[in-house]
């Protein structure tokens, strides 16, 4: 069997197509496991994993923790709000202190871009990036592609539009890398102020008209407006944003085809997406959450396999 070509999961940028295929194939098996009456396998009995969340997270943290526990790993959790980071400790010191307790894998979310890469060069453990600032969120992109593959059969040749706050979104960047690697066509759609200036250098097209973007695509991945990352006003009002870029039932019904709606969560109902769309049969939002556990189990399992005894 193949191995991952990387020693850590720091971003989709570092993966190749064989890695993605291997992760998906492994996730298929774990998806079967998590639908059994007893949803647990003993593979990682002797592995300890630290979840370090320097930034708030609910679903990603739960999903990782569940994945780790279903693999029988020992889990320790850490969140910055209750830690010595507040007392002035550096990142490396914090992590090395945790590693002296014999931790094998670190799952880290951090507000700074490149925190995972930095850590991987300085500490002796497998690093899984669970989101670094506005940079990458690889497991989210993997589970998004996996959900598209599950719904439409494959990702290759499919047209995907990412709608919303592209500028502040690590989900958008990781998704662009992952989708292009698998041969999908990607467009981004949102207010020009929320689209990075050089995004076209990644080979994606920009469309500022939501209706045109939706008419073009097979799948719309809708992102949340990240007010917490905005230091200035990027658009006049939430109401105006909703009128121009909010997805509602009426727009979808007038497309003449059924597109797939995705959202990485958390949803702001009534802002970027209305409730009737989020809860419709076109939406695979909850499938994404279920697949998240299987994907994270696969990533952890494959990285753990590389750890020498």
């Amino acid at each position: 069997m193949d191995q991952l070509s990387v020693e850590h999961l720091l971003g989709i940028k570092y993966l190749n197509i064989n890695d993605i295929d291997l992760i998906f194939k492994t996730a298929d098996h774990f998806k079967e496991v998590i639908n059994r009456p007893i949803k647990k396998v003993p593979s990682l009995r002797d592995i300890t994993i630290a979840n370090l969340f320097f930034e708030n997270s609910t679903r990603t943290k739960l999903s990782f923790e569940l994945a780790e526990k279903r693999l029988s790993a020992d889990v320790i959790n850490f969140s910055a709000s209750q830690s010595s980071v507040k007392k002035g400790e550096t990142l490396i010191d914090t992590v090395n202190n945790i590693l002296s307790m014999k931790v094998d894998i670190v799952v880290m979310r951090h507000g700074n871009v490149g925190a995972g890469v930095f850590l991987s060069k300085h500490v002796n453990a497998k690093i899984i990036n669970a989101g670094d600032g506005t940079h990458e969120h690889p497991t989210q992109a993997l589970l998004d592609s996996y959900s598209i593959r599950e719904k439409l059969g494959s990702v290759k040749g499919k047209k995907i539009v990412i709608v919303g706050d592209i500028l502040h979104s690590r989900v958008a960047l990781s998704n662009i890398y992952a989708l292009q690697l698998q041969g999908a066509k990607v467009k981004v759609c949102g207010p020009t102020t929320l689209i990075p200036k050089y995004i076209t250098s990644l080979g994606v097209e920009v469309e500022t008209n939501l209706k045109k973007a939706l008419e073009w695509c097979d799948v719309a991945n809708v992102l949340r407006v990240q007010h917490e990352r905005m230091d200035i006003k990027y658009f006049p009002s939430t109401r105006e944003y909703t009128q121009l870029f909010g997805i509602n039932k009426e727009i979808l019904d007038n497309l003449g085809k059924k597109i797939v709606i995705m959202h990485p969560g958390p949803i702001n109902r009534g802002v970027e997406i209305t409730s009737d769309v989020a809860d419709s049969n076109q939406s695979i939002i909850l499938n994404q959450v279920e697949n998240g556990v299987a994907i994270r189990m696969a990533v952890i399992y494959l990285l753990a396999q590389q750890i020498k005894r």
Binding site: M1, H29, V33, P37, I38, S43, L71, Q305, K308
Partner: protein, 179 residues
């Protein structure tokens, strides 16, 4: 590398019929019995036996599942090559059922140990039996013995027992190879 034929296709056919009859002797109509083939290689034997029971012995109510034990093995991270999983296909509960685990070769017993753990994920079986085509004597690492065996072999550790099926190798046969 030298190779010796232990069983040819005729031998295997006779053995399969005998194993089928032994199963019927103990399980009658199979209403409360399920067959579980261990992936990957035990599944060929399990499918053969299942087809034989249905077609030659008119057993209609027979449930067959395939179980992958990769995630339950005790040599995770102990081998140079990573362990590759296969699909598990068990679309029924085994709660209260009699389970017959089927594999091609019984050697160290570790696969069967993993299967005994894995099977618990699908419920609490009434009892579990083991059926193997080849039972390698004197090589067990664990106290595990088969209830039904095709042929007992005294192969030394330097030898390898290879089972081929017509589905994969165009020929039913069992060989002993010198490593």
């Amino acid at each position: 590398m030298s190779r010796k034929t232990l069983l040819n296709s005729k031998d295997i056919e006779i053995i399969l019929h005998r194993l089928a009859c032994q199963l019927i002797e103990n399980h009658n109509s199979f209403t409360n019995t399920v067959l579980i083939g261990l992936q990957p290689r035990g599944s060929y034997l399990a499918k053969r036996l299942s087809n034989l029971l249905k077609e030659e012995y008119n057993i209609t109510d027979l449930q067959l599942g395939l179980l992958d034990i990769t995630f339950y093995r005790d040599d995770f991270r102990r081998k140079e090559t990573p362990l590759a999983a296969e699909a598990t296909e068990i679309d029924f509960l085994i709660e209260g059922k009699k389970v017959v685990i089927i594999d091609d070769v019984l050697y160290s017993g570790r696969s069967v140990r993993a299967a005994l753990t894995a099977i618990q994920s699908f419920g609490r079986p009434k009892n579990i039996e083991l059926l193997v085509l080849i039972d390698r004597r004197f090589s067990r690492h664990l106290p595990i013995q088969p209830n039904y065996r095709g042929r007992q072999v005294d192969a030394i550790n330097e030898e390898k027992v290879l089972v081929t099926w017509s589905e994969t190798h165009n020929k039913d046969a069992v060989y002993i190879e010198q490593k």
